[in-house]
Amino acid sequence: MPLYLFWLFSTIMLIGACAVIAFRNPVSSALAMVTSFVGLAALFIGLSAFFVGVIQILVYSGAIMVLFLFIIMLLDLKDEKKRSESYVPLVAGLVLVGVFFIQLIGVLSHNPDKAAPELNAEILAKAAEISKLKYPEESKISEALTSGSLPDVHLIGHTLFTDYNLPLQILGVLLLVSTVGVVVLSKKQAN
């Protein structure tokens, strides 16, 4: 990804994030969050993580945001009123963020910088050659690699269902538990 696109999408993401905490109306905050996540998905795609970028849009900007908006409308929230109270939380929050930011700058200035490794057709073809045992020659992954494109979704699927099979099934149980939990929580109490 060219540098100017990186900064463009980062700016969209960070402005969206600032707007989430700046707006008084919860619906505006939710929409600002969609903007922020679209910028983030563009950054993912710039890192050639196409699958993660797409599910970021589908899950966050699609499902989770609709859930948020639905709850906001269900509760019928009004704009937050201006509160005349102490500035202790404001100062505490800004100091916390300032300390975190100084630490970030400190760590990054000592961190050896690294440019992104190349992912051109030659390297991909070589990768197909090296990992011939893992991805046999007639497989889709190998075909895509030899033709010079990165088969992102196939590679993720392969990793997910070989190396990470047990965590995937545990995740299925977790989703089932959370579904049951939501149903139990939102059931009307008897008394």
Binding site: V20, V59, V97, P117
Partner: protein, 106 residues
């Protein structure tokens, strides 16, 4: 081409904005959204590490993206349960502002 430190800087900024939102805002739904922002900042770091660390065959290290996949799924489950708790809270107290929920203050 942006370098690794650029991505780490941007993701650190996103995390600190989310942290500021959690501390500053009183509306519990907005606090929840800011938690999502912080999770996404961690995701950006993971995807950047996955892209910048190639494995021996020259492809990106997909273990990082696996962790992102799991984080997104767990975050979706967490949002569903959390919003159900917020609805239950609103039913019990008719408010979702954290400075009005002071039963435990003693």
């Amino acid at each position: 081409m942006p370098t690794l430190n650029d991505y780490l800087l941007v993701s650190g900024l996103l995390f600190s904005i989310g942290l500021a939102g959690v501390v500053l805002r009183r509306n519990i739904i907005i606090v929840f959204m800011c938690l999502e922002l912080m999770l996404s900042a961690a995701n950006l770091t993971l995807v950047a590490f996955s892209r910048f660390n190639v494995t021996e065959n020259g492809l990106p290290d997909y273990s990082g993206q696996m962790l992102v996949f799991f984080v997104i799924t767990v975050a979706a489950a967490e949002v569903a349960v959390g919003l159900a708790i917020i609805v239950a809270l609103y039913r019990a107290r008719q408010t979702i502002h954290t400075d009005e929920l002071v039963s435990l203050k003693g």
